[in-house]
């Protein structure tokens, strides 16, 4: 019984939030990885692209709420999501046309792209704050919990409760569907295969008659859609605040690099690795220890490896360790 209670504590405070946060990171990292493997640069503007998508979703949700349109138990933002994705795709394509395509023609070095993407980051950041302002926006509605802690206790008779927020459930389900779609696209369709070929060997792909501009366009379409999705899901789960997306950029890069930049499977696994290590390392094991150890050994302190204040710092440390020990990531190789 005690060990079951301990498991529920871990499930409630680590596993469920970790799965949701990991899915958000994985979707973000997938976008970073796509840009990296086809356009060959680390896109510092990706966080702001996510923020832009979430902003559109917030604005549309407000409008829908004003029209009394909703999804009942599910958050209204799900209706707004497709439009947010389209708008973000449009922004990504426009940015490519106006900014990045010039450097592609010039065949600039990847470090030039990197610095250009910082300029894009500033511009997007300004645009977003100009439209919606820097304040914190909550746009979640519908039913708050899929499973309430008290209901779980009643159902199982355990001392500890397990709560699952609706947003967490939605995040995980949407992430699974989207990831499945992406892999189907990359592995089964002709366009997907041409993308993989292009990322694998640019010259060979060109010789085989693959149109590079089309590949780039599709990459930005996928990246924009993923960014809007990741940004909106993160905003739904926490709350929408423009500047958090810049600090989210590092865990996302960390996920992409830990998994092996350019590798989609790696990006997804990297997302969960980062999310779970953040939570496991900053989790206070006091309650678990109280259940698992004899009463006399019960700990007085929080039994925490690192204070929760350092949560995001954990991902940077993992990033550094991976960069130093195995810069190619867990799943080596630069292939989509």
């Amino acid at each position: 019984m005690d060990s079951l209670n301990a498991l529920v504590v871990i499930a409630n405070f680590v596993v469920v939030p970790g799965l949701a946060y990991g899915s958000q990171l994985a979707l973000g990292a997938l976008g970073v990885t796509m840009v990296y493997s086809v356009l060959r640069f680390s896109n510092f503007a990706h966080g702001e692209l996510m923020s832009f998508g979430a902003m559109i979703a917030v604005l549309l949700t407000w409008w829908l709420q004003a029209q009394n349109i909703g999804l009942g138990v599910l958050p209204t933002a799900l209706i707004a999501l497709p439009v947010a994705m389209l708008m973000t795709i449009f922004l990504a394509l426009a940015t490519d046309k106006v900014v990045f395509s010039y450097y592609r023609q010039k065949r600039s070095e990847s470090v030039t792209y990197l610095i250009v993407s910082v300029g894009v980051m500033f511009t997007f950041g300004g645009l977003i704050r100009f439209i919606i302002g820097p304040a914190d926006r909550v746009f979640t509605d519908g039913q708050r919990f899929l499973l309430k802690a008290r209901a779980f206790k009643k159902m199982t008779g355990l001392n500890e409760g397990l709560a699952i927020k609706t947003t967490q459930g939605v995040t995980i389900i949407v992430a699974v569907i989207v990831v499945a779609l992406i892999f189907w696209f990359l592995n089964k369709t002709k366009t997907g295969k041409s993308m993989r070929a292009y990322s694998d060997n640019e010259d060979l792909a060109l010789l085989s008659g693959i149109n590079p501009e089309r590949v780039v366009m599709i990459t930005w379409i996928i990246t924009g859609a993923l960014a809007a999705l990741a940004g909106t899901l993160y905003g739904l789960d926490k709350s929408y605040k423009p500047f958090t997306y810049l600090s989210l950029l590092l865990p996302i890069f960390a996920s992409a690099i830990v998994g092996g930049v350019g590798n989609p499977v790696g990006a997804i696994i990297g997302g969960y690795v980062i999310a779970f290590s953040e939570l496991f390392i900053t989790f206070a094991y006091k309650k678990v220890a109280t259940y698992m150890l004899p009463a006399a050994w019960a700990p007085e302190g929080l039994v925490q490896l690192l204070s929760t204040d350092y949560k995001i710092a954990v991902s940077f440390v993992i990033l550094l360790v991976v960069l130093l020990i195995r810069p190619t990531g867990l799943f080596a190789g630069k292939t989509i």
């Binding site: 900014v99 010039y102 250009v116 704050r129």
Partner: protein, 445 residues
């Protein structure tokens, strides 16, 4: 294409003309807004210019992408606290031994880790797990010793102190110490990460600088964390003392301003003088370095690493050298900033303001040119501050046809303050596209 002759004559005049325009802008702000504001902007321009010089020696001379400027500036700021504040004796008595013990454990663990690594390097399967075990046990012992000490220190007069204080030395000493702190950190970071590809280096340095800020925000025993340290000693007289001085009163009446205004202007001018001395010294140093064989070697490495390597230059060692040097300059500027503010506020260190804005300064000014760095620091900081009133004015003009009560007009006016981010981004993108060399391009030597 312009004829070659006009082109070169413009080149020669470019530096004085651009700096002249900058001077006119300061006079305009002084006349139209206030001289106090103009000097306040000037002081931060000087500090920005020094940071930009530091970043330029890394990117412009050597092609190293350092996105960790914020962390080095914050370490310099920390030096301001640790050097100039009076020590908190009670804090040292309560937890000094614990902290020192923790420091000893960290050193011992590192030595042990290096020693063990030498022994187990060949065991490919288990070496990382064994290393983790060594480091983790060292960490746990350290925490066991340090945690009670930290708690003891933080509980002493937590409203006012709650940290270990400093050395009670003049704050000008902290400028050197800040440089040393940043150089030390840069040495460790550089040794670890300079071998990485440029975009990984960018991400790694950005991550490390975030970790530095996290530590400064959360380790209250060090510099009070987000509770901030206020009232740092100043290297210049206080306004209130100046106002009692007869010569200040006389000067104020002769220049037709009031005494408080005058005293504040004198204080700002003194700061500006101190900063200018530092800037000129660094500028001279860097110009000399750039002209020397060392500078030629750096450019050779930047332009073709493989060839430089083949000529017998130790590329990684030189990269480390220039990384440490540039970071030291950024740390120095960070300490100067804390001195000017008179307080240390870890929460104010944001990557946009401290890392990426400095990068825009380097790019816009002209990477690889020290004049360009200074100009970039001046121009960008000037517009970073002035884009707000300018944006407001512009919005007012644009939205004038709309009625006073229009919601759109209200929103646009309220959002004008956020124009600066977009302006900076657009300036950077336009420069990169149409004048990638910057305002003052690198001179061919």
């Amino acid at each position: 294409m312009l004829p070659q002759s006009t082109h070169t004559s413009f080149e020669k005049k470019r530096i004085p003309v651009l700096f002249g325009i900058m001077a006119v802008l300061f006079v305009l702000v002084g006349q139209l807004q206030s001289w106090n504001l103009s000097l306040a902007i000037l002081n931060l321009c000087l500090i920005s210019a020094i940071m930009t010089l530091g970043a330029n020696i890394q990117w412009g001379y050597a092609g190293i992408v350092n996105f960790g400027i914020m962390g080095f500036a914050a370490l310099g700021g920390l030096a301001g606290v640790l050097v100039s504040m009076p020590p908190v004796q009670a804090g040292w008595q309560a937890g000094g031994m614990g902290l020192l013990g923790g420091g000893v454990i960290i050193v011992l663990t590192s030595v042990l880790a290096v020693f063990v690594w030498g022994r187990i390097k060949h065991i490919t399967r288990w070496r990382y797990w064994m290393m983790t075990a060594v480091i983790l046990s060292g960490y746990l012992v350290m925490r066991a010793i340090v945690d009670p000490a930290v708690e003891a220190i933080e509980s002493i007069e937590s409203a006012k102190a709650g940290h270990i204080g400093g050395l009670n030395l003049p704050i000008l000493v902290s400028w050197v110490v800040g440089g040393i702190f940043a150089a030390g950190a840069a040495y460790v970071i550089g040794r670890i990460s300079l071998g990485l590809r440029s975009d990984y280096l960018a991400i790694a340095t950005l991550g490390i600088s975030e970790i530095v800020i996290y530590v400064l925000k959360n380790e209250d025993w060090l510099a009070r964390g987000v509770k901030n340290v206020n009232g740092l000693p100043r290297p210049v007289p206080y306004e209130i003392d100046l106002q009692a001085e007869q010569w200040v009163i006389n000067l104020a009446s002769r220049l037709d301003t009031d005494v408080p205004e005058m005293s504040s202007i004198i204080v700002k001018l003194t700061y500006a003088g101190l900063f200018t001395i530092v800037l000129l010294m660094l500028f001279w140093l860097f110009e000399t370095a750039l002209r020397s064989p060392w500078g030629r070697m750096m450019r050779a490495i930047r332009d073709n690493e493989v060839a430089a390597n083949a000529m017998g230059k130790h590329v990684t060692a030189k990269h480390l050298q220039v990384f440490v040097l540039g970071s030291a300059v950024i740390g120095l500027a960070g300490a100067m900033l804390t001195t000017l503010d008179g307080q240390f506020t870890p929460a104010s260190y944001l990557p946009l303001r401290f890392t990426f804005l400095i990068w825009i300064m380097v790019i816009v000014g002209g990477s690889g040119n020290n004049f360009g760095s200074i100009l970039g620091g001046f121009v960008i900081w000037f517009f970073w501050i002035e884009s707000e009133p300018l944006g407001l004015w512009l919005m007012d003009v644009i939205t004038a046809p709309l009625s006073e009560t229009s919601a759109l007009r209200g929103h646009l006016l309220a959002s004008a303050a956020h124009m600066r981010l977009m302006t900076m981004g657009l300036i950077m993108l336009l420069m990169l596209r149409f004048a990638p060399q910057g305002l003052i391009p690198e001179t061919k030597r």
